[in-house]
Symmetry: C2
Subunit: 109 residues, 2 copies
Amino acid sequence: MKGHVAYQQEIPFRNLGGGVQRRVLSYNEELMTVEVAFEAGAVGAVHTHPHTQCTYVLAGRFSYSVEDKSVTLGPGDSIVVPSGLPHGTTCLEEGVLLDVFTPMRKDFI
Amino acid sequence: MKGHVAYQQEIPFRNLGGGVQRRVLSYNEELMTVEVAFEAGAVGAVHTHPHTQCTYVLAGRFSYSVEDKSVTLGPGDSIVVPSGLPHGTTCLEEGVLLDVFTPMRKDFI
């Protein structure tokens, strides 16, 4: 098949430390789908990248910042972060984020 | 906040008929996040568009085709469909797909 299929259960999480794990799911040059699992209290430190990103909360509750503003996101909530803006998150209740990037994150594979 | 936040519970589904409903969540010019809910047996007819798409199964089970090949996807499974390739789906067990498009789908708003 020309589309890239990723069966979730075949892909183990990679432990990033600090209560954060990541697994890269389906991708091509234009899009990359990534799950990031957080323990309560774990932090995704503020960072920037040229990729535009959307984050969809699969489970849990998160404080999510873009520049100097923060929102609280729960299951089903989502945010699109424009290219180059500083963003980060703190996990309030254990959960999983689905991050989708355009273009794909070459640094993740 | 410069990111676009979408709180899921504030956004109603739009009934597309045939057991399919859609709601557009967060987006900007580069990315658009969309939930599509299917009753069992409902069909997302084969179609094409220039946008690159990833589909992540939030719930349910789906037969998903790209060109003349099909796969069965369950919760957490995902697929990236390159620009311009014919693709479609048949819902095997009631569920919801998360579709992310790059660039955004102007025809959806």
